[in-house]
Symmetry: C2
Subunit: 404 residues, 2 copies
Amino acid sequence: MAASEGLVERLRDRVKELEEELARERAKGGGEGQSCRARIEQMSPEVTDSNPYSRLMALKRMGIVNNYEQIRSFAVAIVGVGGVGSVTAEMLTRCGIGKLLLFDYDKVELANMNRLFFQPHQAGLSKVQAAEHTLRNINPDVQFEVHNYNITTMENFQQFMDRISNGGLEEGKPVDLVLSCVDNFEARMAINTVCNELGQVWMESGVSENAVSGHIQLIIPGESACFACAPPLVVAANIDEKTLKREGVCAASLPTTMGVVAGLLVQNVLKYLLNFGTVSFYLGYNAMQDFFPSMTMKPNPQCDDKNCRKQQEEYKTKAVINPKQEVCEEAEEIVHEENDWGIELVSEVSEEELKAASGPVPDLPEGITLAYTIPNKEENSIDGETVAESEESLEELMAKMKTM
Amino acid sequence: MAASEGLVERLRDRVKELEEELARERAKGGGEGQSCRARIEQMSPEVTDSNPYSRLMALKRMGIVNNYEQIRSFAVAIVGVGGVGSVTAEMLTRCGIGKLLLFDYDKVELANMNRLFFQPHQAGLSKVQAAEHTLRNINPDVQFEVHNYNITTMENFQQFMDRISNGGLEEGKPVDLVLSCVDNFEARMAINTVCNELGQVWMESGVSENAVSGHIQLIIPGESACFACAPPLVVAANIDEKTLKREGVCAASLPTTMGVVAGLLVQNVLKYLLNFGTVSFYLGYNAMQDFFPSMTMKPNPQCDDKNCRKQQEEYKTKAVINPKQEVCEEAEEIVHEENDWGIELVSEVSEEELKAASGPVPDLPEGITLAYTIPNKEENSIDGETVAESEESLEELMAKMKTM
């Protein structure tokens, strides 16, 4: 009996020990959304090894940012938590953003392991849930709201629009910025439609199928070209288009290109939100040549999206300009009129390219081409009919896009 | 007795269950260097969700890389596993590099959490050990060799030189590339000394103390300027130098700038090792303006490092050029003579800057300045004496540098 009691005692101790050890391991992996550090009430500039914000608050002392702690007052929505979106989310989390809203409906696969962020043990989990666990563990001060659905279906589209309008740091207020990190046309068009309707500022990002070029783009409805104003631009990669279009073949991707695009995107998010430096309207990255074309695009007055045209009218007549837009107008001036870096980009777009594209196409710097050309609208000339067209339902619009 | 036996039985089952659960959790966190996926003998282009290499091998089908699987035949040493080095290591691990050698002597702190890679639960661990655990878990196909010491002390310096000479994929062969991701002058100078002596190709990287600029640089001993040929260049950030030099203040850092620099660095590593695209000799990143200056620097015939001068002589007289160097020469031509992107950089360095710097200073593109100027060598004019000087011991050299 005594021996048996001693054994039970030892086994109970062992169970307790293992349970504690397991809890510690789970906390490490962020398995249950627990974190290894306590929440921090206020960002401090104190220079100690235990302060996760010291290097960020140092941006104030360095004269780069006036108000770094204001980062906590912003909510950013990220659509697409893949190779670019996941790194974007991690960067904003580590920067101490107030709130992140993540939208994706994919699952983590081993085939994603050639990009940063997700790890093999997360294979099979939904991307938004796996991301939330990891991010919460990295920084428990950030609020997370995740949505595991495809925003392009009718029902989800409404829900998505509602969260962009009401999911700000304070419930009922809109988010401060929407970031598109998706990999397909439909999702970009859905984001574009929502942002034009709401007058919501957003940034687009993308990487090419051959993995060696990418871009970011700032879209201020009414002020800069929206996604429907002109065919999207891609940074040419000096390879034959035909080699990219084979069936049953997966796109190539590299952690390098995706990391650079995410870094450039979040850097511009910080500049935009915290009001420092020059925010780029369009910045490309060509990895083969280490070439970074930059430009702006005015909106198309004949844009198919009626809300884009409405925003353009409002922008023109607006007497009171909000502070955010002032920053960007200033930025535009610096890039284009007082370009003190002396960079000159030569425009060499062929006549055919200009003809093939619908609507006014901006002067394209060398090395940038259109991702595709819009089929000739023989029956839909740019007149009243086009306007009527854009008033059709989203569903009809989507159906039409899919046939393009 | 029966009840007690039943209890013992249940407790034993519980212990077994917890041990298994703990093993799974540890595997997730990479705690004991275990991974969640089996090793893969050969890289396959097969397009399945479970193939971690499908998106990389697709670079072949896309016509970007001829021989992606050759990535496994290379060994890369990374010195400094901080904000840039850790992300550099993760990217190369996910790309499936053959072997990584990591050198650092720091510990992970919560104050590092504003950069990518390390997580709060790793605080207190050595950076190289924490990195090895995470990286092994991400990709068990990569070989790791970690060194937890400061390479600038005499004894460690010898050990470091030995591992660069002999730590290749096949023991006894040199590594294929050395990457400097350190944050101080002494460590860069130690790497420079080793690489000049061994004729080892390396790449330098750095970010500014104000967090908003960075650069990468390719150094081929004898062919391009070494770190001792001229003061290092920094991308100017449009802020007053004085604000950077206050005592008792930590440097600012951002996950964005460090992520971009790591991405540009590893992209150029891939281009160099796998022989595609154009490898940049010097590429800067100014985050305030999204400006990316590019240039090359010829070596200084009066360089203080005698091994640099020796490598220059060998490079000039070499009849047989190895394939790696051919690639880079080609790259240089494209950037400078057949610059088909049309970028022009205007040089506007002041006379004073040119005078202050020792040795020939290259034409500096606008926006790039010298990190510091070397004190006037009134007693050490550029003649025989300088040559003698450079033949002093590393220790003496180090002592001298510290007084600079």
